[in-house]
Amino acid sequence: MHSFHTCLQVLFWLGILAFGLAMAMAAAFLYLQASSRRSSQEELVFLHAWRPLLLGSFHSAVPAALPVLERAHRLHFLKLWNRLMQDSQGEAAERLIAIAHAVACAPFCRRYLRQGNRIERLLATLTLGRLRDHIAWDDLVNQTLAADPQASLLAFHALVRIDAEIAAQQLTPLMLARKDWPVAQLASILQPAQAAFIPVMIDVLQDSRAVHIPRTLRLIEALRLSLPQASIRHVLDTADSTEALIGTLRIINDVGLLPQARAYLRHEDWRVRVQAARMLGRIGEHADVNRLIPLLADAQWWVRYRAAQALAGMPFMSRAEMELLRNNLSDRFARDMLSQVLAERKPA
């Protein structure tokens, strides 16, 4: 009986504790809602004063006297300024940058970058990049080492904006090593600065011990860069992984490499055969038709499909020739695949 009452008491106090915690959570919820409402109202006040001013700078000179940017409005300013910078270029962008300097944006952004919370750091990173603020270089480099992929990638973007040449020299190894930086986003960042990065990436490809060759090749493909023949030949000669081979075949656009690349049509890995067939579709010669025909009967569907597409895409292969080829094929799978690709290319 005694233990029953003890357990009941424990249950009672656990219930009270749960209710107490629930009440604390309710209070926190109400506080958050109120602060969110307050913050929205503050933002409205800020937008009322500053939006017309910043929008006006698209068309006319910066006013001589700007209102004082209150400390509480700094984050709202950075948000609005970055949004407008995205859509502006030329003189309009320069005028926006002048406004940012006039309100002493760079100093408080540098402070945010060093001591701010995550939102402050991210907005400051974005702004300092757009302001091409060299003073913040070291702090931004530090941020590229952060575990947070978004913060580190934004810092890399800012550094590329500030000085692409130095960023390429200093940060290419990091960029290739950080697997958490998506290639698609890196391609967006490097697009306007590719001239600075091409030589460094070629150097990476020359180093056969480099572990990041497949990632470098993916970046090169995403940026649609053309590499010198010698560099690609070197990678083909030294590639020690299927991924590197696939990456190289995907970027070959040089007829001079055909003799070496054709050998991969018979590679044991079907993914390599697929890329070899695609490559012939891009740059193949008349003599390659007979090399592609056996691939139409390959055991792998994708090899057959890409070989058929390569044949159909060759500028010297007419539709009549393709149909003749199809009718003469003895392999049913090869015939079916050519029929499909011919139908795909038939004008609607």
Partner: protein, 443 residues
């Protein structure tokens, strides 16, 4: 202690354990939500896009739905995504579905070298639209939704596939949300989200449903996702790596809820191969069910219970399999104890306490303490969901009348939650009856 007292404390312990473990899941979800509020603020800022997003094939199953097949297909073609193919699978419709599609999209027979990677009912004809280059239609013999989806997967030519039904309408940018985990991590094999809108109107019922949806369809899956142990997705919308689905055998034809068990099979397969993988819950509403086809609250509960039961039954070997991560085993035990059997045990606990009090086996004071404990921990759970929501999504969701929401969080534990448990118990009982009848038929 008497047997009645032991049962009493057993009931309380079960409810405490169920609520406590869900609260721990909310804490696990915090890891993934840490940046959600900030991302909400930054969402208005310029994003990095490069049109290098992985191509996606949407597979739409249609069956005897001439009235809506074309409209559903058009809605999918209008989704915002740079590289999208739509494959509509007409699953042996007896009405004018095929004619409606042919008229709407000017379909022409297409001699496709169709590759059978997953066995399905025969595909009789493949069509290509002359209006939309990214639309194909498969006409096949009837085999059910799972069979149709498998046929669509066979025909898909992209690395990612998403199979849906005609009663789901997706948000314009839902595919972007689903594709992001694949962009961020090459090991991702599946991503999924919720179909609830996570919003409410002025009705009390709507607020109750909102609080309940936050708990069950947002933060619990987010918690499991943070542990990479999401076994069952709250919506049927999943973006899947095609290779992984084919390796897992595709959707299970025999099941009336085709998506049940697929995520679990993907987990098991990746575990067996000891390969790194991620199955991600994106924490966003991807769309909604069509209003005309919306189920009632009780039907939704029962369907959810059915999916949970089927998923658990299909992979019960997870309990004793050796090469399974502890997170997966934990998730499976949780699924069995608190999801599949939870409603029954919860209803039984309340019923036992009520009967014991009425018959004098326990005092009314003990009964009140039991209720204080059950409602207190339940309210704590509901409020924790509301607070997490306010912390993570306050930029995205402007909640109106927060005091009424707080009241809903308390009221949810004073009848609504118990009612849901009752509906799910009824489904559990009828599932058991069906299983027994099927067993007897086989015997």
């Amino acid at each position: 202690m008497t047997p009645a007292a032991l049962l009493f404390f057993g009931s309380a312990a079960y409810i405490g354990l169920a609520h406590g473990s869900e609260l721990l899941l909310h804490l696990a979800a915090c890891a993934g939500l840490r940046k959600a509020e900030e991302s909400g603020m930054l969402a208005e800022l310029p994003q990095l896009h490069s049109d290098l997003e992985p191509p996606i094939t949407l597979v739409l199953h249609v069956h005897d739905n001439a009235a809506r097949a074309a409209a559903c297909t058009r809605a999918l073609l209008a989704l915002h995504y740079p590289s999208l193919e739509v494959i509509v699978v007409n699953d042996g419709s007896q009405d004018r579905t095929m004619e409606a599609l042919r008229d709407a999209f000017e379909l022409l027979p297409f001699p496709e070298a169709y590759r059978i990677q997953l066995p399905t009912q025969p595909v009789t004809q493949i069509y290509r639209s002359t209006r939309h280059a990214n639309l194909r239609v498969l006409d096949k013999q009837a085999g059910g939704c799972a069979d149709a989806w498998n046929a669509g997967i066979n025909a898909a030519r992209t690395p990612l596939v998403c199979c849906i039904d005609c009663d789901i309408s997706l948000q314009p940018d839902s595919l972007h949300s689903l594709a992001l985990p694949f962009l961020a991590d090459a090991d991702t094999i599946a991503s999924t989200g919720a179909l609830s809108k996570f919003s409410h109107d002025d009705r009390t019922w709507s607020r109750l449903a909102f609080v309940s949806a936050l708990r069950t369809q947002l933060f619990a899956p987010l918690g499991w996702s943070a542990l990479n142990a999401l076994l069952v997705a709250p919506s049927g919308v999943q973006l899947l790596r095609k290779e992984a689905v084919i390796e897992a055998g595709g959707y299970q034809i025999s099941r009336t809820v085709p998506e049940a068990g697929l995520l679990m099979r993907l987990h098991v397969l990746a575990n067996e191969k000891q390969q790194p993988y991620r199955i991600v819950f994106v924490g966003e509403a991807l769309g909604s069910r069509q209003p005309l086809l919306q189920q009632t609250a009780s039907e939704r509960c029962r369907t959810w219970q059915r999916i949970l039961l089927r998923s658990a039954c299909s992979q019960r070997a997870l309990l004793w399999r050796c090469q399974v991560r502890w997170q997966l085993r934990l998730a499976f035990v949780f699924l069995l104890l608190f999801e599949c059997l939870g409603p029954l045990l919860e209803v039984a606990s309340y019923a036992w306490v009520a009967v014991a009090t009425a018959t004098g086996l326990i005092s009314s004071q003990a009964c009140m303490i039991f209720l204080l404990f059950a409602v207190g921990t339940g309210t704590l759970l509901s409020l924790s969901a509301l607070l997490l929501d306010a912390l993570s999504f306050r930029q995205a969701r402007k909640l109106s009348e927060p005091r009424k929401l707080l009241a809903a969080a308390v009221m949810e534990n004073l009848g609504y939650r118990q009612m849901r448990a009752w509906w799910r118990t009824v489904e559990l009982a009828s599932s058991l009856r069906r299983a027994r009848a099927a067993g007897m038929t086989r015997a």
